[in-house]
C-alpha cells in the first residue's frame, strides 16, 4: 500500500483540494465552469486510482459516472444555461478573493485537525482521503456561502458532492445501487435547479440571490 501507490493517491486527492481553491480564486462564470470540469476530472482519476489499488472493480463505475456526468454533461449544460441567461460578467465575491482563500485555508486546517484524530484506527490511505474529502466539502460550502450568483451556487453544490464521492471511494465505496441513484439525483437536481433559475430570472430580472433576501423580507434596511 505504501510507496508509489500511496503517493499517487495522495497526489490526486490533494489535487482535488487545490482545484477547489482554484474555484474560489475564479471570479468569472466561464472560468469557474471550466475549473469545475477539471475538478470532476481529477475526481474521476482519484476514484479510478483507488479502484486500481484497492482491487475494487465497482469503483471504476463510480469513476466513469464522475467522468461522463460531472466532467462533461453538467459543465456543458451549465455553459448553455449561462449563455441563455446572458450572465457572463464578473461575479461579485463578498469579502474579496484574498479573504476567501484565507478562510479556505482555515477550513482545510480544520478538516485535517478534525479528521486525523478521529480516524486514527483506519489505514493511512483512508484517513488521508477522508481528511481531503472533508476539506473539499467545506470548500464547496464556502463557495456557496461567498457567492451571490445562482450558477456559482450550483457549482459549489456540485463540488461538495464531488467531495462526498471522494470520501466514499476512500472507504471502499458505497454500494453500486446507491452510487448510481446519487449520480442520477444530482443530475435531476441540475435539471430542477435549471428550471428554477429561469423562473427566478423571470420574476426578479437577475439571478443574484440577494434579490431573494429582499423578497423573503430578511433585509430591511
Amino acid at each position: 500500500m505504501h510507496g508509489l501507490a500511496f503517493d499517487i493517491a495522495h497526489l490526486l486527492a490533494g489535487g482535488m483540494v487545490v482545484v477547489s481553491f482554484l474555484m474560489l480564486y475564479q471570479d468569472r462564470v466561464y472560468a469557474l465552469l471550466n475549473v469545475f470540469a477539471v475538478h470532476a476530472l481529477v475526481l474521476a482519476l482519484a476514484v479510478g486510482w483507488q479502484a486500481y489499488i484497492q482491487g475494487a472493480h465497482h469503483l471504476y463505475v463510480t469513476a466513469g459516472i464522475a467522468l461522463v456526468f460531472k466532467a462533461i454533461i453538467i459543465p456543458t449544460a451549465l455553459h448553455r444555461m449561462v449563455q441563455r441567461l446572458d450572465i457572463h460578467r464578473t461575479l461579485e465575491v463578498v469579502g474579496g478573493v484574498g479573504l476567501d482563500m484565507l478562510a479556505g485555508t482555515a477550513l482545510v486546517a480544520l478538516a485535517i485537525l478534525v479528521m486525523l484524530p478521529v480516524t486514527a484506527a483506519a489505514d493511512a490511505l483512508a484517513r488521508e482521503d477522508l481528511a481531503f474529502a472533508l476539506a473539499v466539502v467545506l470548500l464547496g460550502l464556502l463557495l456557496m456561502v461567498t457567492r451571490h450568483n445562482a450558477i456559482s451556487l450550483v457549482v459549489g453544490f456540485m463540488s461538495l458532492e464531488n467531495g462526498l464521492v471522494l470520501a466514499a471511494a476512500g472507504a471502499r465505496g458505497m454500494p453500486l445501487a446507491v452510487e448510481i441513484s446519487v449520480a442520477f439525483s444530482v443530475l435531476i437536481a441540475l435539471i430542477v435547479i435549471g428550471v428554477f433559475l429561469f423562473r427566478i430570472r423571470e420574476r426578479f430580472d437577475s439571478v443574484d440571490m440577494q434579490a431573494l433576501d429582499a423578497f423573503r423580507e430578511e433585509r430591511r434596511q
Partner: protein, 318 residues
C-alpha cells in the same frame, strides 16, 4: 591542497554566475523576440550594453545624496553573494554551510530595500511610485517565499540548500502535493521578484505600469551597469534555485573531480536554457495584469505556500 581546491571551485562558481547571468538574459530576450517573429538582438548584447554603460559618464541629479551613489554597489554585492550561494553545478561546496534559504531571502530583501531607498532618494515622482509599488509587491512576495522555505525545511529537515538538493535526490521524497504547491508558489514569487510580465514588464517605459524601471530611471553610466547586472543575477538566482530544489538531477557532489564538475556544468546549462525557454513562452502568452491585481496574484502564492505546509501534516502522519 584540498582546501585550496575547495576555495578554487567555490571561486569558479562565483565567477560562473557572474559571467552566465547576462547570457541568460540575452537568451530570454532573443527567444521572446523570435516568438514575436522578430530577429532579436545577439545573445551577447547584454554584455555589450554593460561594457558601454561602464565606459559612460555618470550623470547625477543635484539632489542625489551619497546613498544614491552607494546603493548600486550594495545591491550588486548582495545579489552576487546570494546568487553564488545557490548550488549550481555542484552541491556541498566550501561555502555551502552559509547557503541557507533564509539567508538568501534576507540578502534579496536587503538588495530590494536599498533599491527602494535609491528610488526615493532623488525625490522624483517616478522613483516614489516605483519604490512604493516595489514595497507592496515585496510585502506579499516575502511571506510567500518564507512559507515555501518552511515547507521545504519541514520536509528536508534543514534550510541549507545543498542538503535540500541532496535530500530531493533521494527516493524517500516521493510524489507530494506540498512540493507541487511549493513549486507553483516559488514560480509565482520568482515572476514577481524579477519584474517579469504578468506583474511588471521588463521592457516597458510607460510610466503608469513601470515598477522596477521607475526606480532606476535616474541612474546612468556605471551605476546603471551595476543595477542591470544585479537584475540579470537575480533572474539567474531564481532559475538556479528552482533547478537545485525541484530538478536536482545531474548535480555533482563536492570533491567529485573535474570530470564530474564539467558534467554538472553541462546539465546546469541545459537547465538554465530550458528555464529561459519556459519563461519566454510564458511571457509571450500572458498579458500584464493591473497593479491592483498583483496582490491577488501574490496572495494566491502565499495561500499555496500555506496550504503546502498544512498538507504536509497529512502526509507526514502515516
Amino acid at each position: 591542497m584540498a582546501l585550496i581546491t575547495d576555495y578554487l571551485v567555490q571561486g569558479c562558481q562565483m565567477l560562473l554566475v557572474l559571467l552566465l547571468a547576462p547570457l541568460l538574459t540575452g537568451w530570454v530576450r532573443r527567444l521572446k523576440a523570435q516568438l514575436l517573429r522578430r530577429r532579436g538582438p545577439s545573445l551577447l548584447q547584454p554584455y555589450r550594453d554593460l561594457f558601454k554603460l561602464l565606459h559612460k559618464e555618470v550623470v547625477l541629479a543635484d539632489s542625489a545624496s551619497w546613498l544614491f551613489r552607494v546603493a548600486p554597489y550594495l545591491i550588486f554585492a548582495a545579489l552576487w553573494v546570494a546568487a553564488s550561494l545557490v548550488p549550481t553545478f555542484a552541491s556541498g561546496l566550501r561555502f555551502s554551510w552559509t547557503a541557507d534559504l533564509i539567508a538568501i531571502v534576507a540578502l534579496l530583501g536587503s538588495a530590494r530595500f536599498f533599491l527602494a531607498l535609491a528610488g526615493l532618494d532623488v525625490g522624483t515622482s517616478f522613483g516614489g511610485i516605483g519604490a512604493s509599488r516595489e514595497m507592496m509587491i515585496a510585502s506579499l512576495a516575502e511571506p510567500a517565499m518564507l512559507m515555501i522555505v518552511f515547507t521545504l525545511s519541514l520536509l528536508a529537515g534543514t534550510t541549507e540548500l545543498s542538503a535540500v538538493a541532496q535530500f530531493m535526490q533521494t527516493a524517500e521524497v516521493g510524489l507530494r502535493v506540498s512540493l507541487g504547491l511549493a513549486l507553483i508558489a516559488l514560480v509565482m514569487v520568482a515572476i514577481a521578484e524579477n519584474a517579469r510580465i504578468p506583474v511588471d514588464n521588463p521592457a516597458t517605459h510607460l510610466e503608469l505600469t513601470m515598477v522596477h524601471e521607475a526606480m532606476v530611471l535616474e541612474y546612468s553610466g556605471r551605476h546603471l551597469a551595476m543595477i542591470e547586472l544585479g537584475a540579470f543575477l537575480k533572474l539567474l538566482l531564481y532559475l538556479s534555485l528552482l533547478g537545485c530544489i525541484f530538478a536536482p538531477w545531474g548535480m555533482a557532489t563536492a570533491g567529485a573531480g573535474l570530470v564530474a564538475y564539467l558534467g554538472g556544468l553541462a546539465v546546469y546549462l541545459v537547465k538554465l536554457a530550458v528555464g529561459g525557454l519556459l519563461l519566454a513562452l510564458f511571457e509571450s502568452v500572458v498579458a500584464k495584469m493591473r497593479v491592483f491585481r498583483v496582490d491577488q496574484f501574490l496572495g494566491a502564492a502565499l495561500m499555496l505556500g500555506l496550504l503546502g505546509t498544512l498538507l504536509l501534516f497529512v502526509s507526514r502522519s502515516h
